[in-house]
Symmetry: C2
Subunit: 453 residues, 2 copies
């Protein structure tokens, strides 16, 4: 180990990422603790109080907007419990960082630059500044979209459910859809054994809410608050990737699931298209299933679903996965390598080398985490490889689609899925950065080539 | 799109990678054609000539040293056919690039600098020069190792098979093991329904040959031709990763496969350890199975096997997969990101940024190719997701382990697996680079940040 004196860098010159990542982890952990304790209160359960692991699993699933569940909310939770669940989803979806800022404001403490930067990083806003105004604007936008969605759902559902019950259901499912949470109050009702009603009108309203929530705060802000001649590179990439993935998913599911024995077999062509389209949108992280029951999914459909969940939604959105941004950067890196370019290019812009490295790290960590968790589930449960992989990816991508394995998990399996949801909502690298030993780079070493692939 | 005039680079200043990649693709395609036509000759079959698709599949599998097979070599091939198979394995294993150099020499043509660089790239030698001498040295080393292996196998097998038949078997399996090809002449014999004899002596000899072949030519050259005080970074990384993966694989398989109903259930502890160790070494690309029958593998064992196959062997070795080098670079990139370092570091050396980008491209392309091929198999066959994924990864990583799906493939499925083996032997990016439209980079664009994960 030789020291190269010319290249020593003093650590004080570099922003150190640890505090922000660690703060995010601790913040989510506190929210999970509060949520778990609240759900354990005696009057939150319908017939009996929730056990600690039911409360923990539900709190993590709601705060990470995943939607996997070991309880049946409509029959196991009281009205109070259902409202707490709704609040946890809203807090988890709109972002605990936004909440943190508001709490800071209410407490009268000024927001420090570090906090501002942490929030900027977490919400995916690359240019700091005017955070508080932006948070207000985001919250107003979220509430506006959710209110419109709830109103439409109420109009559509009021005859089926009666006006009062329809109000709770409209608000709950509008929030759950926009936040891409995937919790519903239908599963468990005799007339809805497989969850949300999958008539085309319900799917259209819910699908639109899911789609908007999955675009992410920066894209929504750009789309809703000012129309420009030219969107930012991030918005253009996100829209391109999202529309491509939705099309591939809908086309693939339409192709494989209309075979006999699979979910689209007995539907009309229009319904096949509508159901495949909604399922493709929802798979990328919302977790509502228009395919009922979902475990009729063909092996090809399972593979496509796993891949779509793993890629997930836009960065800084309601959804999880490696994100469409990571996916786009990796594809651009492949294209640049194949064509012999010095660096990836898109739309008249060059990507920074650090972006490619971060994308590689996200993909690697995500694969390692998902595969390790799947292995842990498999050695402790009688489950097939594809069922276990499906459930773990669904948790890590905070999607919430389930082939029913979650309901059969033992305590260890429940904790593994909890860790996946927690890790996934923070993002693949946040926990790694928070737990790593940060060290200032005092030396640089000479380069040496290593052979790869 | 704005042109940035200061950064235009004239294409003639940059080595253009296309010719080398394209030459590799065409070279392998020619070898496959010659191998297929040779195997279609009437006297190559035992009872009947091979069909064109049997000959093609066998030629691709042998030249890519994969070992997947839709025929049973011992009963479907004549002695002449078995010798041709042996030669195809040897040519595929030692590398068609080495062969190309020798052909050039025999034809009396001087090796151009371009060819020299192509060979250097293909064999993973980063410093050009003295190629011809090195090729001679590599060939001598290969023949020496294979001869020692064959002698040991003959001594061990001569009582079981008789001295004459043992000679053919010893040579065939020594070459097949060292080249990590995975073809055997035992499958189909009544006393060996599941392939190679899995007594501990046979496993020790074959395992050593597989291990040496899997280290790759650069590491072997360093280990065998000159002992230094300090190995190169590449050799140190390769040995570390290989030994780690072998340990994880053996430990994981030992843990899960001794459960009732799985391959190690009825073995003594010593045999469990020996079988798990051999299987771990062989899984990373050789494709001989000590677990007999292999389809008793537990779901956890299947997952571990798929991951080990996907990572594969060292670069420029007899094996495939994304390679241990790519795996190491990706892990180092994660570590560097987590600790806030500007660039990945290992053993007092810094990795070049282009190395990380290439590793990301290899992982991305490999995942896309494997998942697409699995989907294509699933929509055209009645197969489960894990069976199809196992077989496709086995082909792409040129491993050759099989859960018996290969024997049931229709013509389309056989072609998909052929493409996987061909692509895998070339390396994930070679075909992409060969097919891409290379363009000189005449402009650079301004950088813009893109959000990811
Ligand atoms: K969800
Ligand atoms: K092989």
């Amino acid at each position: 180990m030789r020291l190269s004196p010319r290249s020593s860098v003093r650590s004080s010159y570099r922003p150190r990422p640890m505090p922000a990542a660690l703060r995010l982890v601790i913040g989510l952990a506190i929210l999970v603790t509060v949520g778990t304790l609240t759900l354990m209160l005696p009057w939150m359960g319908a017939q009996r109080p929730l056990t600690w692991n039911e409360a923990l699993f539900t709190a993590v699933s709601a705060l990470s907007v995943t939607g996997l569940s070991i309880i049946t909310p409509v029959s196991d939770l009281s009205l109070a419990g259902q409202i707490v669940l709704l609040l946890l989803i809203q807090i988890g979806g709109v972002g605990f960082m936004v909440m943190a800022v508001i709490v800071f404001q209410l407490l009268g403490r000024r927001i420090t630059l570090t906090d501002r930067l942490a929030l900027t990083d977490s919400m995916g806003l690359l240019v700091p500044g005017a955070i508080v105004q932006l948070v207000r604007r985001v919250l107003l936008t979220v509430l506006l979209i959710e209110t419109i969605g709830a109103a439409l759902l109420w109009i559509h559902w009021r005859d089926m459910l009666g006006p009062e019950r329809a109000l709770l259901y409209a608000i709950f499912h509008s929030v759950s859809a926009f936040c891409n949470a995937g919790f519903d109050l239908f599963s468990g009702l005799p007339q809805h054994p497989y969850g949300i009603p999958n008539d085309s009108t319900s799917l259209a309203i819910l699908g639109t809410l899911i789609f908007l929530g999955g675009l992410g705060i920066p894209v929504l802000a750009e789309l809703l608050t000012f129309w420009r001649i030219r969107f930012s590179l991030h918005t253009r990439i996100t829209l391109t990737v999202v529309l491509t993935l939705v099309s591939i998913g809908a086309g693939g599911l339409f192709l494989t699931e209309q075979q006999p024995g699979h979910p689209l077999a007995n539907e009309s062509l229009e319904r096949q298209i509508a159901l495949a389209l909604f399922q493709s949108i929802s798979t990328r992280t919302a977790g509502f299933s228009a395919f009922q029951p979902l475990d009729e999914l063909s092996p090809a459909g399972r593979l496509l679903t796993i891949v779509l969940m793993f890629i997930g939604c836009a960065p800084a959105s309601m959804g999880g996965g490696i994100t469409t941004g990571t996916f786009a950067v990796l594809m651009l890196a492949v294209g640049a390598y194949a064509r012999g370019l010095a660096s990836p290019q898109i739309g008249g812009r060059t990507l920074a080398p650090q972006t490619v490295r971060k994308a590689a790290a996200i993909l690697t960590v995500s694969l390692l985490v998902v595969l390790t968790a799947t292995w842990l589930i498999l050695i402790t449960h009688e489950a097939s490889l594809d069922d276990a992989l499906f459930e773990v990816v669904s948790a890590f991508a905070t999607c919430g689609l389930s082939l029913q394995l979650t309901g059969e998990l033992n305590l260890f399996g429940q904790l593994v899925i909890c860790v996946m949801m927690f890790w996934g909502r923070l993002g693949a690298l946040t926990l790694v950065v928070a737990l790593a030993h940060q060290r200032p780079q005092l030396v640089t070493y000479p380069e040496e080539q290593v052979l790869i692939g």
